[in-house]
């Protein structure tokens, strides 16, 4: 365990003792008044500080002054106080506090604070994540993944959206690695099983539970105890299965097939789908209550064709430790303009193929040979599965409006909100721009 330098500012002897026990294993310095704490902050380098605010019966929130001093020296400041009025909470955050907890729940809070602190520090220190664990140099994808990593050490369920092969499983694994959870990362592709098999796979079964069940088997839910359960293609599960899963997530317990005894499993859910969840709900393919349970924070991954800057680093990553390749400028341009319908997975397959080829320097003809029949064209909107599903559920007109809205919103964002530039870029009328923005306004407000 990493040993942290921790300051505890607390005037109550019993509370000091409680904190010292909870923080055992770290270097803990105790201070019971402002003067002592300021002296300690000045003279030592602390990673973390726990601050009480009222120090003694006649004190006037002097702990706040210590927070300001500690925050200025880069200490992660956590308030643990019985003074939890909105005004005091606001003041503490304004002075640099990172967290504010009401006194009295140290048993669960302190361990949680330490875990979150260590995980966030690990994530911040791992500057090379995007050149090793999750390869990307696309600013939008980096920002989406970085934001998601902030939620990794929490209990919040995460939902990853993106076309097939964009790296949803890699991102889920990365999130698990940064979660600090002691259990395993357990992945299950819901689309790969029939309903009966999926149920047996998820919940496990006893010996003789069904024909062919020659021995008892532990389910994925149990394997994910204290870890992460990654549910890929969640929208492909039958409504009945979704109901059973929802119950297991809510109650943290379930019955294996053929068993009368419940099993308990405390897993965190990360799920993924390549389809639009709202469209799946509209079509009755995804239960709304299950969706509510699994979409605490949503991450969108762009298709590879919209992050062509990732192609070169990905190729480099796939050939690391093996035969390195060089591409002629024409070949490189072709790769960057290719539609990559199979995304990163397709690129990996392509790299494997050319790596086995006779030439280390890959030219346009070799590229075309392996990407034969898939011209370097953008994917047509009708081939976009999520959009197609949306059109089926809501009608073609609504789907076209959705596309128009997304294009206009993106262009406006890229133009930093300059409407005249967007009208010129997209060759649209003022009327179309404003009617689209008006239509989008309630959705934006909801966000």
């Amino acid at each position: 365990m990493e040993k942290l330098n921790i300051l505890v500012l607390e005037d109550d002897k019993l509370a000091q003792k409680v904190m010292a026990v909870h923080l055992a294993g770290h270097n803990v310095d105790l201070a019971d008044d402002l003067k002592t704490s300021l002296k300690k902050i000045e003279g030592a380098k602390y990673d973390l500080g726990f601050f009480d605010l009222m120090l003694g019966p006649d004190d006037d929130y002097s702990g706040l002054k210590a927070i300001a001093a500690a925050a200025a020296r880069g200490v992660h400041c956590v308030v643990v106080s019985s003074s939890d009025s909105d005004e005091i909470i606001d003041r503490a955050y304004a002075l640099g506090a990172n967290d504010f907890y009401a006194k009295g729940n140290e048993e669960s809070n302190v361990a949680d604070i330490l875990r979150k602190f260590l995980q966030n520090r690990k994530a911040a220190g791992a500057g090379d994540i995007f050149s090793s664990a999750f390869i990307t140099c696309d600013p939008e994808t980096k920002a989406a993944a970085s934001e998601a990593l902030k939620y990794a050490p929490t209990e919040l369920p995460l939902l990853i959206l993106g076309p097939s092969g964009t790296g949803k499983t890699s991102l889920a694994k990365l999130l698990h690695e940064h979660s600090g959870r002691e259990g395993a990362f357990v992945s299950i592709n819901c689309s790969a099983y029939t309903e009966d098999l999926l149920e047996a796979e998820m919940f496990g079964h006893t010996k003789g539970a069904f024909t062919g069940a020659h021995e008892a088997r532990k389910g994925r839910l149990l394997e994910a105890h204290k870890g992460t359960l990654f549910l890929d293609e969640i929208g492909t599960m039958s409504p009945g299965m979704q109901m059973k899963l929802l119950k297991a997530i809510e109650e943290r317990s379930f019955y294996p097939l053929g068993s009368e005894k419940t099993e308990r499993s405390e897993f965190r859910v990360i799920s993924a789908t390549l389809e639009d969840p709202q469209a799946l709900i509209a079509q009755g393919k995804l239960r709304f209550d299950l969706f509510q349970r699994v979409h605490g924070y949503t991450i969108n991954l762009k298709p590879l064709t919209r992050r062509a800057c990732d192609i070169a680093p990905l190729v480099q990553h796939f050939t690391k430790g093996g035969r390195r390749l060089a591409f002629t400028p024409e070949a490189r341009a072709y790769l960057e303009n290719y539609s990559w319908p199979g995304n990163v997975r397709e690129l990996k397959k392509f790299v494997d193929l050319v790596s086995c080829g006779p030439e280390g320097r890959v030219d346009i003809s070799a590229v075309k040979k392996h990407l034969k029949g898939r011209e370097a064209v953008q994917q047509s909107p009708a081939q976009d599965g999520a959009l197609y599903a949306y059109a089926l559920a809501n009608g073609l007109e609504a789907a076209l409006e959705k596309v128009a809205g997304e294009i206009i919103t993106r262009n406006l964002r890229e133009n930093e909100g300059k409407k005249t530039k967007t009208m010129a870029d997209l060759k649209i009328s003022t009327r179309l721009l404003y009617s689209t923005l008006k239509r989008l306004a309630p959705e934006e407000e909801k966000k």
Binding site: D12, L14, V18, D52, M54, D58, S81, K103
Partner: protein, 62 residues
Amino acid sequence: MTTLSDSGKLLHDLRSKCSSLKSAAELYKDCSAAEKKEMLALMNAAAAEIVKLLSQIEKSAA
């Protein structure tokens, strides 16, 4: 910034002491024998403080 009145301060101290006592009680079962002894002494002192505070609150309410 708002400052607490005397009765507000008494109530704050009461909440604070009770919270510490609750946290200590939760922790007690996992402590070593030596720690239990120290913890009990501190819990007793906190309980005495709570009694004192309650009597002060009672007086100020009268």
